[in-house]
Amino acid sequence: MLKRRDFPMLGYGVGLRRQHYSHVLETRPSVDWFEVISENFMVAGGRALEVLEGVRASYPIAMHGVSLSIGSTDPLNRDYLRQLRDLARRFEPAWISDHLCWTGVGGRNLHDLIPLPYTDEALRHVVARIREVQDILERPLLIENVSSYMAFADSTMTEWEFISTIADEADCGILLDLNNIFVSAFNHRFDANEYIDAVPAERVVQYHLAGHSDHGTHLLDTHDHPICDAVWALYERAARRFGAVSAMVEWDDNIPEFAELARIADRARTIYETATHTANRESLKKTGKPALPADHRA
């Protein structure tokens, strides 16, 4: 069974974005790791791959995809998967992740992360496909919870039951996006804390930390704002429950200077250290044992 300790603890990373390519290559800034968007590097050649070679020579990376479309009822795109596998063979990421959603059907691509109904039918469909994908990629996959703006009348389980059961049955990892939980909790009126408390701890391999925009009637996952306090609070709750999990700052629009992203990644490190220290101190006082098993600590 997949466990977080099968993966390296990469620390506190940042999404590698085009605006920062030169800065990263020229100054090798102090950041633990980079997450890269897989599709941006599934090209024949040129600057993107040259940059990735340079970054990979100095940092661990994880590959994060947006077009796997694991929930689509179209057949799996084997050409895409082969390209993804080849990219992974070349750059040796710590892991590959993509979203628990569908992005197209009928051979067409919406280039968006569309949620699934939380039904037994969708669950069985996704589990079978993740198993196949993991075979093709020759490695486990992490699936990420998406922000959503619609929920389906025929769903028979909560989102956290859906993702947890899929992860267990497909034996894959979870990339927990704390901002996505917050956004979807607002949009669908569920308790974000309940979500954090319910997912299988040993399968959570990575966090995303990001900002969103408030449209009054709904929150939109725009990755163009600072991380709000409520999302930091969710992160602290997750840090206390899950222990050492690689975290990454995701910012895709109105992207600030790299130093600001690195500072946010450092804040995640500090919050983790403070939260786990406090949790252990409280637990030792109450029970004589630390709050987290040894393999969950950094």
């Binding site: 040129g46 059907v105 009928g106 039904t119 703006y149 389906f152 009348a153 025929d154």
Partner: protein, 266 residues
């Protein structure tokens, strides 16, 4: 058809409906979405699907604006918006990467009514698309002057060269390269003049460059591309050189191709 497939197919049609989800629903003959998508007092079921419809269009519009900045400048925001609306209906994205979303835009523009006001726009879009493709095209080590000098004189006639595999030579009816350069350099642009010619789009290191070719150079590069020997390339240059000294012309071309990082081993 499975329940999930029916749901995904319906949502796809609604999200991509050109006049919005409401008209999409009407076209389906469906009264509403309440039995499929949960709505509440903040957002109806229809409004929730509409969020995805807006994101679909604007994400692709933004991607196309980024890939075709000069075409956008020539057509203007409103015309470009309308162009993309029609384009996405005719060429909905099928590939996993947004990189491909503009691959048919120049062809679509060639037969579009907007060509009346800007007859050079399709050629401009052709070059802009080539710039994107060349940027991500395959790598190959460029030949440098030293490696050429190391070739023994006796080996030159049978020598086979090639051009960078990412390079493209485009045949155009409008001289759009100055217009494109003006937009790239944020200068005022003027409409392109009519004139059949060829343009070379290539990558030196990681930078994409483009320039017009005269007939002699276009013919010579075509010979290089089809795997002609150096002797055959010289014959092409001699045949097309007019009054020019063919040896001098060949030397000039060779020096420029090497400086451009254009040549690779054949």
């Amino acid at each position: 058809m499975s329940h999930l497939k029916k749901l995904e197919s319906l949502l796809y049609r609604l999200i991509t409906a050109p006049s919005g989800v409401a008209e999409g629903l009407a076209a389906e003959g469906a009264g509403g979405l309440d039995d499929i998508v949960l709505g509440d007092e903040r957002l109806s079921a229809e409004a929730r699907v509409d969020i995805y419809a807006n994101m679909y269009f604007y994400r692709l519009l933004d991607a196309l604006k980024e890939d075709f900045p000069a075409t956008l400048a020539v057509l203007g925001d409103d015309n470009f918006h309308n162009l993309v609306t029609g384009y996405l209906l005719e060429y909905p994205p099928t590939e996993p990467s947004l990189y491909y979303c503009g691959q048919h835009l120049a062809a679509y523009l060639r037969d579009h009514p907007l060509r009346e006001g800007a007859p050079f726009a399709a050629d401009l879009a052709t070059v802009e698309r080539a710039v994107v493709e060349v940027f991500h095209g395959p790598d190959a080590a460029a030949l440098d002057p030293d490696s050429m000098r190391a070739i023994a004189p006796a080996d030159w006639p049978a020598l086979k060269l090639g051009i960078q595999p990412s390079a493209q030579i485009l045949a155009l009816d409008w001289r759009v390269s100055e217009l494109l350069r003006a937009v790239e350099e944020r200068r005022d642009w003027t409409p392109a003049d009519r004139g059949s010619h060829r343009i070379l789009v290539w990558r030196r290191d990681t930078r994409v460059l483009y320039r017009e070719l005269d007939q002699a150079e276009a013919d010579a590069l075509a010979a290089v591309s089809r795997g002609a020997t150096f002797a055959e390339i010289c014959e092409v240059v001699a045949a097309g050189g007019g009054d020019q000294d063919p040896v001098a012309a060949m030397n000039r071309m060779l020096a420029r191709w090497l400086a451009d990082g254009l040549l690779v081993r054949g």
